[in-house]
């Protein structure tokens, strides 16, 4: 039998140890003989106990408040850090663009363009990622695909298995929310392998500032699964710049886009890998170490 309103004061008394004599005997007998009722009593008891320990609840609350403070501080610091990084990069980019487009040595066939962009690593990286602007392969550094040990397919499979992918784990809360929330729908599409649909929905979500980081991460992962590594790289970089999500897994994913990409540059790949390996506290240090061992053996 299920719990009734009149049972509550008796259950409360039992929890407080204030049930005695025949009342206690009869309560215990019912607990033994009526499984459904006993189950509801236990649910009531544990729910109540969860909120009875004020000292413990206050401690937890305090911790959660400090966690929010730390997050805010970290976001502000990252924001400031990116501000100082992006402005010089943007300026360098502008200068490079101006210099390349106006320079008399920028003539097809002379080979001088490659030499010129060598002085601008950021521009070089951009070019390396852009198929339409791919420089002459003979002048490029050889990528890790030149290592006969791994084919492109093997490297893609390696990156596929190592990518940080929280979308497979996120709990979609209620059924209603699942149906109404576009982000949840996009995640569902992603999980079902409908990556194009997920990308379409993620793009629609971009107008919502509060969802931008998650939508862009989704976008990056969907492009990654479609082997569109240039788009995936750009998306992960964008999430990193938004500074709302933890940077370590994003840096790892950026490295994975390089690992999986055809015509990758060994230089860019190793720069990203060494960046992770330079920080022993990096969440992906062990994985990066393992990866380095695998590809250099």
């Amino acid at each position: 039998m299920v719990m009734e309103q009149k049972d509550i004061p008796i259950i409360e008394a039992w929890i407080k140890g204030k049930l005695h004599g025949d009342d206690l005997l009869s309560f215990e007998k019912r607990m033994t003989n009526d499984a459904e009722w006993a189950e509801e009593v236990k649910i009531y008891r544990y729910s109540k106990e969860t909120f009875s320990d004020k000292e413990r609840l206050e401690f937890r609350k305090k911790i959660e408040i400090i966690q929010v403070d730390i997050d805010k501080e970290e976001s502000n610091k990252k924001g400031l850090k990116w501000y100082f990084i992006f402005i010089p990069i943007a300026l360098l980019g502008l200068i490079a663009w101006y210099w390349i487009s106006s320079s008399p040595i920028n003539t097809p066939g002379t080979g001088s363009t490659i030499e010129a962009i060598d002085s601008f690593p950021e521009v070089q990286d951009k070019l390396l990622l852009d198929d339409t602007l791919k420089p002459n392969e003979n002048t490029m550094e050889q990528g890790i695909s030149s290592n006969p040990k791994f084919s492109d397919k093997e490297l893609i499979a390696m990156a596929d298995s190592k990518i940080f992918d929280p979308l497979q784990e996120i709990n979609l809360r209620s059924e209603t929310e699942k149906q109404n929330n576009l982000l949840n729908k996009a995640i569902s599409d992603y999980r079902q392998g409908s990556y194009r649909k997920a990308i379409q929905k993620a793009n629609e979500l971009m107008i919502n500032d509060s969802l931008k980081s998650n939508a862009t991460l989704l976008l990056g992962l969907a492009h990654f699964r479609l082997h569109e590594y240039i788009e995936a790289y750009a998306a992960f970089q964008q999430v990193l710049a938004l500074s709302e999500l933890a940077p370590d897994p994003l840096e790892w994913n950026i490295l994975m886009t390089q690992l999986a990409q055809k015509n990758r540059s060994e230089k860019t790949f190793h720069q990203l890998l060494e960046k992770i390996l330079s920080d022993k506290q990096h969440s992906y240090y062990d994985k990066a170490f393992e990866l380095k061992k695998v590809i250099s053996n």
């Binding site: 649910i43 729910s47 937890r60 400090i66 403070d69 730390i70 784990e169």
Partner: protein
């Protein structure tokens, strides 16, 4: 700036008891890296890190209160072991049945009971959060104010009588029970 300074285990324990926000903040900064590594290695999320971190510290709080902390072991060893075990449980409940090797270490640290209690509390807290605000506030008020009578409840919520309060409390309790029972894992917490 003070939050960045590392303190001794003893100072961290004192802060857990006293609630000193500066030392607690330092403890959170220090433990976040340890926990992030565990969570990200297991493909967890940022939300998981925060959840695991607050639960680990809550377990430390109860272990200390129950005089069960072994001071010969470092606090960070406790953090690492509890976090690994707790995150393995989260993963297991999400359908990933591969428990992590460190599970055996739990015996040595002796926090199994606190961990089970923590999981149960988080489960019931999670279910209460799914109730509508009115119900959530009512049950929280009733259960966190041990001595409150139905009359006090009625007064606090501006209801006409204690009878109204009793009926509402019962209705909300039933809703909570339904939510708990709708979870396929609820039997694990009873």
């Amino acid at each position: 700036m003070a939050a960045k300074v590392k303190y001794t285990d003893q100072e961290y324990l004192s802060a857990i008891r006293s609630g000193d926000p500066i030392i607690l903040k330092s403890l959170l900064v220090v433990t976040k890296k340890i926990i992030a590594k565990i969570v990200y290695t297991g493909n967890g999320t940022m939300e998981d890190i925060l959840e695991v971190q607050s639960s680990v510290l809550e377990i430390l709080f109860t272990l200390d209160r129950n005089s069960k902390l072994d001071i010969s072991k470092s606090l960070m060893a406790y953090v690492h072991t509890i976090a690994t075990r707790y995150f393995a449980q989260i993963k297991r409940k999400r359908g990933n049945l591969n428990l992590i090797k460190e599970v055996e270490m739990v015996q040595e640290f002796g926090f199994e009971q606190e961990l089970i209690e923590m999981e149960r509390m988080n489960f019931f807290k999670g279910k209460l959060k799914l109730l509508k605000e009115g119900c959530k506030d009512l049950l929280e008020f009733c259960w966190s104010n041990e001595d409150a009578t139905m009359q006090d409840v009625a007064k606090n919520f501006n209801w006409a009588s204690e009878n109204v309060a009793s009926v509402r409390k019962f209705e909300c309790t039933k809703k909570l029970i339904r939510l708990v029972k709708a979870d396929k894992l609820y039997n694990e917490y009873l």
